[in-house]
Symmetry: C2
Subunit: 506 residues, 2 copies
């Protein structure tokens, strides 16, 4: 039995052909039209030499063309590689070369970047005009073309503890499974109008893309997040569901028109497992007047693992600080180092299983073997389960900072800082931030007889890594706290900012 991700578009085309599939500003399409556009995109890619298994990267802001890539590329048996559009040029180049990308599809916004990257790929399709020309000139492809469950559908790059970004290989079955799990957990139906305002290159948003389509809901978009525009599009398109990170919710709550805005169509806001304060959550519930659900997961599980739903009913419960419970289809356990299961309330590593668990990291068998054992994914996140299966996260073993919804791996920032000649050593941590949830903070030890300013170090970082990864604050210290074995004790630095309690990740 073979099932392709194309199935998630085939069904609404057959059942809801005349219903709206998307509204993107003044562009709209029914499901029949969307499926036809996707078949033409697939046809154009095939005609240009893209074959089954070839990688096709996407560098775009949110919009219907991004949506089309989500179906056409895996639908034709190729592998989609969504690119984080906030990455620096060397980071993007690394991914294109690591993945061996055949074709890069970019929009006008990234025309300059795409031009600079052209020599790393076989072809580029840049801008809406070129995209539309390709579709118009193509014969509609016959889909699906011999795709099987365990074929790779997408390579989703994620930072890593080793510094190098890793391509998470997700199969058709992985993404179809998550789509089904998410549909149950988030109660998506054909009545959904889903707003893509969080970046579509993130699987946090991408996961709902397949779910909402499969059940026959409608998509709408903002090129990127803007509070005023979000408030306006929710009212105009009668949006029912969307994904937000805390920084977005803050911006909406603080927007002058929030008090008079029409949020009456909203059914549910899904927000990521980034730190969110109870006060922000309460205020958001008050302002938007709908249901709030928190999702926890990671790219490696395609991505949803647990959901805390109906937080509006939990505002006075200590469980509001939990990441919720395993969703139908996913097993969430907490383990000791020897693999045994932790007792209730005992902290251990979060270990996940389900048909949504990734195939592995692209060309990285050693890193894959480290996290995938007997079909279980060892997340490196630390947490505990209470007596009714609510998961509480207490730390991220992989030393990750979530700032404004983006994952930042300390090691990447530390590597960049250390490349500056004046820097002897650094420790990068996340510290609480009202706007970003966490912000990237660096404790820097300079070499003897050197000097450098924070501004100079920041400019240095911006050349090497994405802006959101660069430290938003720094402290210069004579030495880093270390354990007897010489290991840097980041917790000691963190405690000055967070207090000695749990980091309050949720």
């Amino acid at each position: 039995m073979s099932s392709s991700l194309w199935e998630t578009l085939r069904r609404p085309e057959a059942l809801y052909g005349d219903r709206p599939a998307y509204v993107d500003g003044t562009s709209r399409a029914t499901y029949r039209e969307l499926a036809n556009r996707c078949r033409h995109l697939a046809g154009a890619l095939q005609a240009s030499g893209v074959g089954a298994g070839d990688r096709v990267a996407v560098l775009m802001t949110n919009g219907h063309r991004y949506l089309e890539c989500y179906f056409a590329i895996p639908g034709m048996g190729a592998v989609m590689v969504p690119l984080n559009n906030r990455l620096a040029l060397p980071e993007l180049r690394y991914i294109l070369e690591d993945a061996g990308v055949h074709t890069l599809i970019a929009d006008e916004t990234y025309a300059g970047t795409a031009g600079q990257l052209a020599d790393s790929v076989k072809q580029v399709i840049v801008g809406a005009a070129a995209y539309e020309e390709a579709l118009a000139g193509a014969t509609a492809a016959v889909l699906p073309v011999g795709v099987s469950d365990n074929d790779v559908a997408g390579l989703f790059y994620t930072g890593g503890t080793t510094g190098a970004s890793k391509g998470v290989m997700l199969s058709h079955r992985n993404l179809l499974s998550n789509a089904m799990h998410a549909t149950i957990a988030l109660e998506y139906t054909a009545a959904e109008v889903y707003l893509h305002t969080a970046p579509m290159f993130h699987l946090a948003d991408g996961a709902s893309t397949y779910s909402v389509t499969w059940v026959g809901g409608c998509h709408t978009f903002l090129p990127s997040f803007d509070a005023g525009a979000t408030i306006e599009v929710i009212a105009r398109e009668r949006v029912t569901a969307t994904l937000m990170v805390p920084a977005m919710l803050t911006a909406i709550c603080e927007h002058p028109s929030a008090a008079t805005a029409d949020f009456s169509s909203m059914r549910m806001v899904l927000h990521g497992a980034a730190p969110i304060s109870t006060s922000l959550l309460k205020r958001s519930i008050e302002v938007m007047g709908c249901s709030f659900s928190q999702g926890y997961g990671m790219t490696e599980v395609a991505p949803l693992a647990t959901v805390l739903d109906h937080e509006e009913l939990l505002v006075d419960s200590p469980r509001l600080r939990s990441a919720g419970r395993e969703i139908v289809g996913v097993q969430a356990t907490v383990r000791r180092e020897d693999g045994s299961f932790c007792a209730v309330d005992e902290v251990g590593e979060v270990v996940l299983r389900g048909p949504n668990v990734m195939l592995g990291y692209w060309n990285k068998p050693a890193e894959t073997a480290e996290v995938l054992r007997d079909g279980w994914y060892w997340s490196r996140d630390l947490g505990y389960l209470d007596s009714e299966g609510f998961l509480f996260l207490v730390d991220r073993a992989k030393d990750m900072i979530i700032s404004g919804g983006e994952n930042v791996y300390s090691i990447e920032v530390e590597d960049a800082l250390c490349k500056h000649p004046a820097v002897l050593e650094v420790a990068v941590i996340g510290v609480p931030d009202d706007k970003w949830g966490e912000r990237v903070h660096a404790a820097v030890v300079l070499r003897a007889d050197t000097s450098v300013t924070e501004t100079e170090l920041n400019a240095h970082c911006h050349e090497l890594i994405a802006g959101y990864k660069c430290p938003r604050s720094m402290e210069f210290v004579p030495e880093l706290p270390r354990s007897g074995a010489g290991k840097v004790l980041k917790r000691e630095i963190r405690d000055r900012y967070w207090g000695s309690s749990d980091r309050g990740i949720n």
Copy 2:
């Protein structure tokens, strides 16, 4: 990655351990208690010599012990064989021997039958006392025990065009997939209180067993259907969902206490794809005041393929006569004999695909190859799809009658009748019946110089086949209508009862 059906019980035990799993008269259990009972049943079976892959048959009326079998048997890696308790002794014996059943579990109601069947199996566990003794004496098994996705979880026997009953092999993945599809299509949640009043040996009811458990809902039971008891238990246990066949709905609507009954807890009645008249449906909606959904499927797809939901909104639509649309996870197509897809409104064979499609028929590779081609299941049902994917059934190619919710294959009844020395030939058809939807009707040609009464022929049939398969009416005719090629033209006989239009299967 391996997932066992045990997963559907592990989750509610972990998340909802203290919530009610079932209420069965005066017996009740929380999810923790249910899971413990199942582990003990599995332990008892293991101790008695049942190993992975061994078949364990169940011959019981509805109740919590039936529910326990649904989890303990596949959970320990054995294969569950639910027996239709309306079958005649020779039919039951055939199944036990065909499946090579190791252990037969029966309740008091079938103690006599079980005794007569004891020599066809290695052991029998008969009656509640023996069952409870086995549990009390057993060590709890550690589950799951090395079960993989594609292992057979159950053998579900179904009649066939060849006369011999066939064991449909459903894997853990098949049943887990259906459970997930059904959860989406029927919108099961943790708030569900599901009443098992339709027979639990049928997968039509059994399918909801896994769904309702997985999401953490509660089960309640009637040993077998009774209108008054159903009305009473719905009010007492605040039942939200149940499966009914038309004959049950008729009995409820006609019951003296229906008008004053409390159906306020009911969310949805699911009814099978047996013929139901629009007037009965309208009356049932009026009486019960809840949502009605029709399901279409068959054991071979574990079993749900299409659903017509919210029929209460369709009472004046011609689509009320459709079997609904493919559910998320299942592809429903209509094909020509050469495998090509029919056009909109063109009649062809209903062909289905999904992770829920059976592994095949037990020990019947030829019959399996006939219906499973490239992962698609050819159902033998005839129908067409309208422009929005609504499936309309027009005939059953496999010559099946659905009487009171039971499938009756004409060939089985014809074989039984023909064993009587006075019978030359027969044609068995379904004719419309107010109570049963369809009733089994026989057109009989006697041998020259013989005579037999309808009563005598009926008594003859009852010795060989289940009572519900025996003709409820007969006509004696001098000859059967035949085509030029000599094929019996059953349609000509049917048309006298149904008119020349579609048979009105829905």
